[in-house]
């Protein structure tokens, strides 16, 4: 991972040394006559390092676009800084990106706590916090208070609600045990799951938090099993989600498992299956707005063919089954769309204005029918998804697309 970003970072540093005077007269910092510099943090190391591939996918897409001439006649430089999933490091890195590197926008920064930690600052200095890689509801809900911040992925509130409603509809008197990350991300999912279950015979009987610094979640899974739960909801990042499956299996526990979208790439599921020996994984329910790289249905799909080609060319050695790459490309695609519309003198205010009025229905990496939309009173770019069930080594979609009320 480092190998890949280092030369780009070095190049970007060199480009930044060129005085801002080169920039077009009306353009904002980070824009020169040949480049637009954007930057963001990503957990390249640390407890959530599986998400490093999100930045890698986005990077590959920008490289692809740059090879075709870039956006708005400029190349897009995307500088990724490691924050190890530690908000304190995010704050330092983002201040450096803004104050020393003069990025045009902060983009695709990953993690709920990380983004909360920089939101006040970025809104104060009026630098776009574009397409936050977190599903916390606050990004869309509090857009009036934080006009420089916008999310991307379906909100955790919408996702939790979908799971709750699914359980309410398909299970009679289910007893749900929840493993959740002890922060706003986990709590958002837990609260909305509960509201999805309300007025049904099913309810949450136990909810066990974990800290990202803990070595394992064995004790929590033991307690959830002991609670008598017959449904297990995993609201955890990939490392801990994989552990949850391993421990459930070691306890001989076979609940119906709900696994949140952020840990449901085919790659993570395959790791959790322990080489096909872990049976607790079979029948897991999750949701995604993305096309599944393992689904044969997309084998000849132009979008997915392009995805594989871009990854093979610009992210050598990357595993195409890791759909986090795909997420990165989907968000980079929308960003390129925004930048193209900014004209000769891109401004930060112009970028945010366009981000608040997206109408993109043809993102090649998202499921057909899933559109990216924002507008007056709607600050949630993605509010659709597809329920899917893990069967015999891959996701099988079922039911139609769900669309959440644009709340």
């Amino acid at each position: 991972m480092r190998r890949r970003f280092a030369p780009i970072a070095a190049l970007a540093t060199a480009l930044c040394a060129i005085p801002v005077a080169l920039a077009g007269s009306g353009a904002d910092p980070g824009v020169s006559s040949t480049t637009i510099l954007i930057g963001g943090t990503s957990p390249l190391t640390g407890p959530a390092a599986s998400y490093a591939t999100v930045a890698r996918g986005a990077q590959a897409y920008f490289d692809f676009i740059n090879a075709k001439g870039g956006a708005a006649k400029r190349k897009i430089e995307y500088r990724v800084v490691d924050d190890a999933y530690n908000p304190a490091q995010t704050v330092q890195a983002v201040r450096r990106l803004v104050e020393q590197d003069n990025v045009f926008a902060v983009f695709n920064t990953l993690g709920t706590e990380a983004n909360l930690a920089i939101r006040d600052y970025l809104n104060q200095v009026k630098v776009p916090q574009l397409f936050v890689a977190s599903g916390a509801t606050t990004w869309g809900r509090d857009a009036a208070k934080y006009p420089w911040t916008i999310g991307f992925q379906p909100s955790y509130a919408a996702e939790g609600l979908v799971y709750g409603q699914y359980i309410a509809k398909t299970q009679k008197k289910a007893k749900v045990g929840v493993l959740f990350q002890n922060d706003d991300y986990g709590k958002d999912l837990l609260a909305s799951l509960k509201s999805g279950l309300s007025r049904s015979g099913s309810k949450v009987v136990a909810a066990e938090p974990y800290q990202v610094t803990s070595p394992d979640v064995g004790s929590q899974i033991g307690k959830l099993k002991a609670s008598g739960a017959n449904v297990l909801a995993i609201f955890a990042t990939p490392t801990f989600a994989i552990q949850a499956y391993v421990f459930a299996n070691r306890l001989g526990w076979r609940p119906l498992i709900i696994n949140n979208a952020v840990s449901a790439t085919s790659n993570t599921m395959t790791l959790a299956s322990e080489g096909g020996k872990n049976k607790s994984i079979e029948g897991t329910i999750s949701t995604t707005p993305l096309k599944d790289p393992l689904n044969p249905r997309w084998k000849k799909d132009p979008g997915m063919k392009q995805y594989r080609a871009i990854l093979a060319k610009y992210a050598k050695g990357a595993n195409p089954n890791d759909a986090n790459h795909l997420y990165g490309m989907a968000v980079a695609y929308e960003t390129v769309g925004l930048l193209k519309g900014l004209g000769a003198n891109p401004t930060r205010a112009g970028l945010m204005a366009r981000a608040r009025s997206i109408a993109s229905a043809k993102n090649p990496f998202l499921l057909p029918g899933v559109s990216v939309k924002t507008g007056k009173g709607d600050n949630f770019p993605l509010q659709q998804g597809q329920l899917q069930r893990w069967m015999k080594g891959r996701w099988v979609p079922f039911g139609g697309l769900w669309t959440s009320k644009r709340n």
Partner: protein
């Protein structure tokens, strides 16, 4: 109802023993390096992670089956441990203990960086040599992997006891740790004994890494939290005692699980997940204040 509550309780004990087995294995490596070189090795966790990645890459990327990879990993780790001593530790060995400690902290950062650079930060899966079977013992589920882990820890204790008690090499190792200058005078090759201590610790660390990865998932940080618990286990059991490391590890695993189990029933209800790691640190502090030698350690005797 009471039967169910009892099996829940026992399940938490078993789960505590399982976590404890992991702490015990790494604690053993810490003990062995302290006993044979007198060093507290902060890089022990990262060395174990590195070894686990070696095993993983041999099986996944180089097509070896598990046991050849296991043996190769132990050999590579032993060589790596000796190499670390020769290249990094030996130049600072003559100075204060503090210098060596700082070098091991540097190693921690360096090895972690290398692992991420070479293999990336994403989690991987290393399979367990004991499989994924589980057994139902009166309503309490026990996993083959956890039994295997604890058995390996106890087996290592026995081997170490035989080594230190009955072999000349063991005696030389002990002599070097206690008094390198006098050991040299009686003809012990001190430098090689210290290198051997590092090699042994790295090998034990490799076992710890390979048995931890199937449980917590193989990623570059997998041993960082475990290391703190392993320190607590080693201090609790007595930093020089292999059996102490295992007992300390198991005790710690069960103790922490009990606190969080009982908190459900009102006792220790202040004990939340956030306090698990601080609790381990508190144990280190209390043991060092009250009984610095731990449960099995012997007080240091100096002839005046």
């Amino acid at each position: 109802m009471i039967v169910a509550a009892f099996s829940d309780f026992m399940q938490q004990v078993v789960s505590g023993l399982a976590s404890g087995g992991i702490y015990a294995l790494l604690a053993l490596a810490l003990v062995i390096i302290h006993r044979s070189t007198g060093v507290i090795n902060f890089a022990q966790g990262e060395m174990a992670t590195f070894s686990a990645y070696i095993a993983w890459t041999l099986t996944v990327n180089h097509g070896l089956s598990y046991w050849p990879a296991f043996v190769a990993c132990l050999a590579i780790s032993f060589g790596g441990g000796v190499g670390i001593h020769r290249v990094v530790i030996r130049p600072v060995e003559r100075g204060s203990v503090l210098r060596i400690v700082i070098v091991t902290i540097g190693l921690l950062v360096g090895i972690n960086g290398f692992v991420i650079w070479e293999w990336g930060g994403e989690p991987q899966q290393l399979r367990s040599p004991f499989g994924t079977e589980t057994y139902d013992v009166g309503g309490v589920i026990v996993a083959a992997h956890d039994i295997g882990t604890i058995a390996v820890a106890l087996g290592i204790v026995l081997l170490l006891w035989l080594l230190f008690r009955f072999t000349k090499v063991g005696l030389a190792l002990r002599a070097v740790a206690v008094n390198p200058d006098e050991a040299r005078l009686v003809g012990v090759r001190v430098t090689w004994m210290l290198a051997l201590g590092w090699g042994l610790a790295a090998t034990l660390g490799a076992v710890a890494g390979m048995l931890t990865a199937p449980t917590v998932g193989l990623d570059p940080q997998m041993m960082q939290a475990v290391l703190i618990y392993a320190f607590a286990a080693a201090v609790l059991g007595g930093i020089d005692s292999p059996i102490g490391a295992v007992v300390g590890g198991l005790l710690l695993g069960v103790l922490l699980n009990m606190l969080s189990y009982l908190s459900q029933y009102g006792a220790f209800d202040w004990f939340t997940e956030e306090l698990r790691l601080p609790a381990a640190l508190l144990i280190i502090l209390v043991v060092l204040l009250v009984k610095p030698t731990g449960i099995f350690g012997r007080p240091e005797v100096k002839r005046v």
